[in-house]
Assembly symmetry: D2
Homo-oligomer: 469 residues x 4
C-alpha cells in the first residue's frame, strides 16, 4: 500500500494568522504539501479531532548559552533550551550571537555556531549583538553577515559591556538601512540606571525589589524616544524590544502617528508579573529582568497593544539563570545586591500557553492574533517567512497541535529547561500543546520529548521586508 | 474519467492575508476543498501560472439602487453594480438597506431584498441604515433583524433626511452593544455644513468646488471625536467609515491609544483624488462626495494608515450617479448649486486595481495587506468570515485571478457600471483581475462578463467578533 | 490741616499680578492716585502693617437673582450677593442677564438692570446669556448690546431651557468675531446627560450622587472638543467656563498647541470638592452643580493648570439655592430625584480665601498668580481693565486688605450670603480679608459689613482684547 | 528750592507686566520711590509725554568676553556689550561665567569678575557654565556659589568642550534641586550633530548653510525630550534655552500637560531668521548659531508660544563674533567649513526693538506680555525680582523710555556693539528706546551713550522661586 503523504494530520482545526479552517494537513519531506477537506493516506496519521493545528511558535527573542562573563552562566544551552521550546509548542528560536568588546563579529558568530552545532532540537537563526562597532565591523563584517543570512541585530542602550552611544547607534542604523537589516533596540537609559543604582546603594537599598526602582518607566520612555529619533534621523525602521508599559507605548504610538515605522515587541513578563514580584525577600531575584515588570495598569496597556496591532511580535526574552546557583541568581553562592543579580527570567516553554490561556481563552485577542504574534509575524519580521511561522503549501511542517481545553497548573518540575524555577509556578492555564512537529517530525508528543540533539537546523534569514527603507 | 474537483486552478501564487504560497486550488460544489502542491484533475482547469490567486474582494461599503428621493436615481442597480464588482475582482458586496423616515425598518429591508432579487451577480449582504429610530425600531425591529443576519448598521451624523442626533445615536449604540451588532458612523457635523453652505451661498459661491469648502476637515474631526465619545460612553466598538485625512486619523489614533476599539475605513477617493478635482467648472460635480477629497498631504496620512494597521477596511463607497443625467449630477438637467448635487462617485470596479497598482506595486503596502484590507478584514468585520474573503479549506470559492503585470489605462467605456464617467479616467494602472469566480463559477474572464443575474445570493451576516463588547 | 488724599493705606505690602512692593497707597475721589514709599496725610488712614494690599477680587462668573422658573428661586439677589462678595474681598461681580426663550435680549437686560438697581453694594457688569438667538437677536440686539458695554455672553450646550444647537452656536460665535465680544461656553453634551439620566432613573438611581453619574468627564470632554472645533471653524477665541478635570484640560491644551486661543476658567468646587461630596444621602444635594466635582486626581490636574497658566480666570460660579427651602434644593419641600435638584453651589465669599489658603500659602501658586487669576485677568478678559482688578495709578480704589496669617474656620453662620449652607463648612483656612474698599469706601472692615445698597455701580465693559479675532 | 526727587519722569504711560497707567515716576537714590498722577519737583525732570516708560530690559542669556579658545575671540567685552545693551533699552545682563575642563568653578567665576570689573555700564549677574562636574565642583564649589548669588547654571548637551553626559547632567540637576538653583539646558544631541557633520563633510558639503543640515529639528527635539526626562527623574524644574521650533515646543507642551515644570526661552533669531539666511555663500556664516534658525512655519509656532504663555523668557543669546576677522567668523582669515565657524550672532541691542515692533505693534503680543517676557519674568526666573525687571516702589530705577512710533531702519553702523554686522541689517522697525536709565542715571539718551564703564554693578541672584522643588 502506498502513502501519498509521510504524515497526515486529520480533522483538526487549522489556524493561520488570517483564519481558521477544518482541514487535513498533508506532510511530505518535512513540508506541508496539502490542505484539504479530506486527504489520502499518510504513512503516519495524527488524529487532531477537537484539536487546534497551529504553526509552531517562533520565539524571536531568547538567549541560549550566551557567554555572560563574571563567573556566571546561562542555565540553558541549545539542547535544553530548544527542548524546552519544543515542549511548549515552539519550533523556531532566534537567540543572539553576541560580540564581546574587542572580538570580531565573525568570530562571535562562529563561536555561537559551535555552541548550537549538534545540540539544537528545533530550527534556529541568529540575531547578532553588536557591542563593538569598529570600522571593520561596520564596513565589512556586519554587511557580509547580513548578506549571508544574519539580517537582524540588537543594539543595547544599557548594560556596561554592551551599551552603545548614540553615534555608534547611528552608524549601525545606517548599516541597517543600507543593507536592509532590522535593528532591534533595547531601550533603557544607562546613565539614569547608573545614577539611580548609586543612589539606592548609597541608601543601603540593595534588595532585589530595588532593581525595579533603579529602572523606572521614565528611563525606558526616554530611551524609546531617543531610539525613535535616531531611527527617524537615519530614516530606517527599528524594532523596540521588550516594551514594558504605558509610557514607552505612548512614544511608539506617537511615532507611528507621524508615519514612522517603529515596530514593537513585548513579552510574557509584562503581562503576568509586576514589580511586586521582585518584592519578597531575595526570592524576588527570580523575577529580576530588564526592563522590570511594572504594575497592573501597565499590564492593561500591554494587553491593549497586543489587541490593537501596536505589537508586531510576542517573544519570551528567555534569559535563563538558575536561582540556587553560584553561577546564577546567587553569584558566588551569595545573596548579592540587585546590581549584581544576573538579569533575565526563563520563559521559552511557557510563552505560548500563557498567551493562549489568558489572551485567547479570555477573548482579549483572537486565535488569529495569537498565531500572528507568536509565529507568523516574527517569521516575517526576521525574514523567515514563508518557510516558518505559517501553515501554507510549501512551508516547513513546523506545527503545534493544541488541546485548547486542557487545564495545566504550571510546575517547574514539569518544564524542560535547565532552570530551577519558573516565575509562573502555580498558575493554572487552559490550553497546552499536545504534539509538536519540526519539519514533520514529532519532537513533543503527549508529555514525551522526542527530539534529537542536532536535528535542529540553522536558518539563514532573508532580508526583512519590514526593514525596507 | 472521473474528476476529483469541479475546478482546479493550477500553478498560481495563492495569497491570503497572512502569506503567499505556490499551490493548486481545488474547488468542489462552489467551495475550496483542497490546496496542494499538486492536485488531481478538475472538470475544469484554469492555468494560473504567473498569476496571483486572491480571495475575491469584499466591498463592504457601496450603494446600489438605494432610493434617494428628489427625482434623483442611482445609476447602478444590483445587476449593473454587481456586474461591475465582478469585473473588478470583487465577489461580495454589502450595500445599504436604507430606512426612510416614517418607514418601518423591516419594510426597508423587504423592499431592498426585492431590488436585489433576481438581479445580483455576486453574493451580497445588507447593512441597515437607521434613519428613524422609533421605539419600535430600537426595541423590536432592529434587534430582530440583527438576529436574522443584518448585523451592521450605519449612523449618519449629517444629511438632512438621514442624520440622527446624539441621543438617537446613543440609543442605537446601546442596541449595538446589547445585540452584538457593529455600528458604522458617517462622521461629519451637519450643523457646521449647513452654516458654511449658507454662508457660501450667500456669497454666491455655489460651484462644485465649494462643496469641499462646506465640509472642511475640522468638521469631520469634530464628528469623529463625538462619535468616539458616544461609543466610549456606551462602551461599544464602532467603525468610522470613509475617513478622509489627518485630523480624523489623529482622533482615531488617540482613541486607540486610550484602549478604545475604534475601527476605521477609507476609500480610493482619499488616496487618488484631491479637492482640486472638484475645481474644474461643473465637471467637478463628478467628484462631489462626502467627506470630500482633501489634499496630497492628507493622502499621505491615509497611505500611512493603510500601511500601519490603522485602517481595518478599504471600501469603494460606490454611490453611482450619472453626470449627464437629470436624475444624476445635473438634477433636472441643470448645473445646480453644490448643495443640490447628489453626493457620491462610482468605484466598485476600480477599487482593487487602484490599490493594487499604487499600493502593492509601489511597495507602500504588502500583498498580504492588500488582501486583508480588501477582502479578509471586511468579511471578518461584518460576520462573513470564514466563508468569504479568505482562501481556506471550506470557504466559498470566491476568487480573483490577477495578472500582476498587466498595464491598463482606465477608461470608463471599458468599465461595467451604468455610470457615464469614472473619476480615474486616464490613469494607467499595473495589475488587473483576469478572471473572477463566485462560488466556483466564472463571472469575469479575460474581458468577458459571464455572470448571470440572480446567481448572486443573499448572505446572512454573523455577529461581528470585532463588535463584541 | 489739608489732606493730600482721601485715604492713605500705609505700610502694607502691595501685590499686583506682576510683583509685590512695600508702599503706601494714596486714594482720592475713589481712585488710586499715588503709590510711594511714604505718602502725605490722608483724611482717613489705614494701617496695613503686616498686611497684604491686593486688588479687590473680580468674580467673573456668578449668578445673582437670575430667574430660574419652576417655582425655584436663587437665594441671593444683588444685595445679599454683593454683600457676600465684599466680605470675601471681591469688589466687582459679573453675573448673567439671562434671556428666556421668546424674550427679547434687550428686555432681559432691562429686567436685570432693575434687579441690580439700588441693591448692589459692589460694582457690577453683566454677561449676557443668549438662549434664543433669533435673527433679531443675532443681527440687531446682540451687536447693539456689545456696542454699549455688554461684551461677553454665555452659550450653553446643555440645560433644556438654555441649550443651543451647533448651528446656533456658530451664528453666535460669528457675532462674537464680528463685533469683538467674548463667548463663554458651558461645555457638557446635553444628549448624553439626558440619555444617562433616563437610564439612571429607569434603574431607580435618583439620589443626588447620581447627578455625577449622569455627567461623567467624557461628555464634558466631548462638548469641549466640539466647542473648540466650532470656534476654530469661525476663527474666534472662546472661554470654556468651569473646567472640571483632566480630559477637558487635555482638549484645551491640545487646542492651544495648535495655535488656537482657547481660554479656560475653573472654580473652587473643582479644587475642594469631589463626587464623594454628593454622596451622603440627600445632603449631597448641597454640592449638586454642573459639571460635577470629580476626584482627587482631577483636582491635581486643575491645580497644575492654575500653576502653569492654562487657566486665565478663577471664578466662583456662585449659583445660590437654599437647602432647606421649597424654592431651593428641596423643590416643593421634597427630596426629589437628582434631575430636579437646582444646580449650583454658593461661593462668592469663600472663593478668594480658599484659593489663598490652599494655593498661595501652600506654595502651589504665587501671590502674583493669585492676583492675576482672581482679579487682573478676569478684569482684562472682560474689558474692565485697567479700571478694575489692578493696583495702578488711575485705577478704581477697589482694594482688599488681607491678613495673610489669620486662621478662620469656615462657618456658614459667619458668611454673608442668603444661602443656608456652605459646601466648605468646617474647613480651616489661613488668610482672610480684613478690609475691603470699593472705590475708596470701606464696605467690609474687621468683621463688619459697611456697604450700602445702591452704592455699587454698573460697569460697561470694553471689548476684550483677548477676543480680538 | 528743595526737590522731593532726584528725577521725575512726567506724563509717561508706565507699563508693567500686568497693566499700563498714566503716571509720573519719582526716583530717589537710584530707586523708584513714587508713582502718582502728579508728583512734586525732581532735581531732574524727564518729559515722557507720548512715551512709554518700561522696565529696562533684562537680557538673561548673552555671552560677553567669554573665552572660546582656538584663536577665536568674542567681539564684545563687558564694556561694548553692556553699552550696546543700554542703547537698546536693556539695563541688566546675565552672561555666563564658563568653567573650562580642568578648571575650578570658583576660578572661572573669579576670572569672569575680573573681566567685568570696571567695564560694565549696566548691572549684571552671572550664570555659571559647568563643563567639568568633578566631585569637588558638585559637592563644594557649586553649592557654595549658589549660596553666594550664582543661582543658575547652564548645562550643554552639545559642543565638544562643554557637553555633559546624562549622568553628569543628573548629578547637576540633583544639585539644582537640593540647593534651589535653576538649571538651563542647551538641548541638542551632540552625537547626531557629529554624525551628520561627518556625513556632510564626507560629501563635501561644508558651506555655512550646511550648519543647518547638521542640526535638524529632530535632534533638538530628542535632546529636549531627554532633558525633560532627566528633570522628571530628579524631580526638578529646568529651563530649556533657545527653543527654535515646533518639535521642541511640542515636547515642552507635552511635559507641561503632565504637570512638569519645564520652562522655555526663545530668541529673536527664531522669529526673524530662517535657515535660508545661512544660504548666501559664506555670508551665511553671519547667521550661524545653534540651534539654527528654521523656517517660516516654525517661526509661527514660536510666535504662538510667546502669545500663549509657553515661553517664560525672551533673550538675545548674544554671542558676538566679527565677520571679517581671523578671530571671528573667518578663523585665521579663512572661509572655513561650517564646523569651524564660531557659533553665535549679535543681538543685545536689537532684541527689544525687534520684539516690540513685530510683536507689540502688530498685535501678536500685548505690551504687558512684552514687558513680562523681556524684563519681569527673566528677573523673576533668576532671582532678581523685585529689584529688577519691574516698575514698582522700591525697585531699582532701571527704566527705558520708548517712543512707540519711531521708525528706525536697522543699520549696524548705528549700533553700539563691537561686531561688524547685524543679521537684521535693513529691517525697518517701529518703536525704539529714546532714553535708558540705570538706577536713575541716564546711560542712553536721544542717540547718545552716556554710560560710564564700571558703573554697572554685580548682582547676587536670589534663589529662583520657579526652581523651588
Ligand atoms: Zn534586552
Ligand atoms: Zn533579551
Ligand atoms: Zn457616508
Ligand atoms: Zn456611503
Ligand atoms: Zn455653566
Ligand atoms: Zn454658571
Ligand atoms: Zn546654548
Ligand atoms: Zn547661548
Amino acid at each position: 500500500m502506498t502513502h501519498e503523504f509521510d504524515t497526515v494530520i486529520r480533522h483538526g482545526t487549522v489556524a493561520t494568522a488570517s483564519g481558521t479552517m477544518d482541514a487535513d494537513v498533508g506532510i511530505r519531506d518535512g513540508r506541508i504539501v496539502a490542505l484539504a477537506e479530506s486527504l489520502g493516506r499518510g504513512r503516519e496519521e495524527i488524529d487532531a479531532r477537537h484539536r487546534l493545528v497551529l504553526p509552531g511558535g517562533v520565539d524571536a527573542h531568547c538567549h541560549l548559552d550566551q557567554p555572560v562573563g563574571d563567573g556566571l552562566r546561562m542555565a540553558d544551552d541549545f539542547l535544553t533550551g530548544t527542548r524546552s521550546a519544543a515542549c511548549g509548542g515552539t519550533t523556531t528560536v532566534i537567540p543572539f550571537a553576541a560580540q564581546a568588546r574587542g572580538q570580531s563579529l565573525r568570530a562571535a558568530v562562529a563561536d555561537y555556531h559551535a555552541r548550537a552545532e549538534g545540540r539544537a532540537c528545533v530550527d534556529y537563526a541568529f540575531h547578532l549583538i553588536v557591542a563593538d562597532p569598529t570600522p571593520t565591523v561596520v564596513r565589512e563584517e556586519l554587511p557580509a553577515l547580513i548578506d549571508t543570512g544574519y539580517t537582524s541585530f540588537k543594539i543595547y542602550m544599557t548594560y556596561d559591556d554592551l551599551k552603545l552611544d548614540d553615534r555608534q547607534i547611528l552608524r549601525l542604523l545606517a548599516v541597517a538601512r543600507q543593507h536592509g537589516a532590522l535593528a532591534m533596540v533595547h531601550a533603557e537609559n544607562a546613565d539614569c540606571i547608573a545614577w539611580l543604582t548609586e543612589a539606592l546603594e548609597a541608601a543601603g537599598q540593595t534588595a532585589p525589589r530595588h532593581h525595579a526602582d533603579a529602572r523606572p518607566m521614565v528611563l525606558e520612555r526616554e530611551a524609546t524616544h531617543r531610539a525613535i529619533s535616531l531611527a527617524e534621523l537615519v530614516d530606517v525602521p527599528i524594532l523596540v524590544v521588550h516594551v514594558s508599559g504605558r509610557e514607552a507605548v505612548e512614544q511608539i504610538r506617537w511615532a507611528r502617528g507621524r508615519g514612522l515605522r517603529i515596530y514593537a515587541e513585548t513579552c510574557p513578563q509584562y503581562l503576568f508579573l509586576t514589580a511586586e514580584d521582585l518584592g519578597h525577600g531575595y526570592e524576588g531575584a527570580k523575577c529580576v529582568c530588564s526592563p522590570p515588570p511594572r504594575d497592573v495598569a501597565n499590564q492593561r496597556v500591554i494587553w491593549d497593544g497586543l489587541a490593537d496591532g501596536l505589537f508586531t511580535v510576542f517573544s519570551s526574552d528567555h534569559a535563563p539563570f538558575r536561582y540556587e546557583d553560584p553561577q546564577g541568581k546567587k553569584p558566588g553562592g551569595q545573596e548579592v545586591a540587585f546590581r549584581h543579580i544576573p538579569n533575565g527570567i526563563p520563559g521559552l516553554e511557557t510563552r505560548l500557553p500563557l498567551l493562549f490561556s489568558e489572551g485567547v481563552r479570555t477573548g482579549r485577542i483572537t486565535l488569529e492574533q495569537f498565531v500572528a504574534l507568536t509565529a507568523t509575524q516574527p517569521a516575517r519580521l526576521y525574514g523567515l517567512h514563508p518557510r516558518k511561522g505559517h501553515i501554507a503549501i510549501g512551508a516547513d511542517a513546523d506545527l503545534a497541535i493544541w488541546d485548547p481545553d486542557r487545564r495545566v497548573t504550571v510546575r517547574n518540575e514539569a518544564l524542560h529547561h535547565a532552570v530551577d524555577y519558573t516565575p509562573y509556578e502555580g498558575m493554572t492555564l487552559t490550553g497546552w500543546p499536545t504534539t509538536t512537529l519540526v519539519r514533520g517530525q514529532r519532537v513533543w508528543d503527549h508529555g514525551e520529548f522526542l527530539g534529537r540533539p542536532g536535528d535542529g537546523r540553522f536558518l539563514r534569514c532573508g532580508r526583512p521586508e519590514m526593514a525596507r527603507p
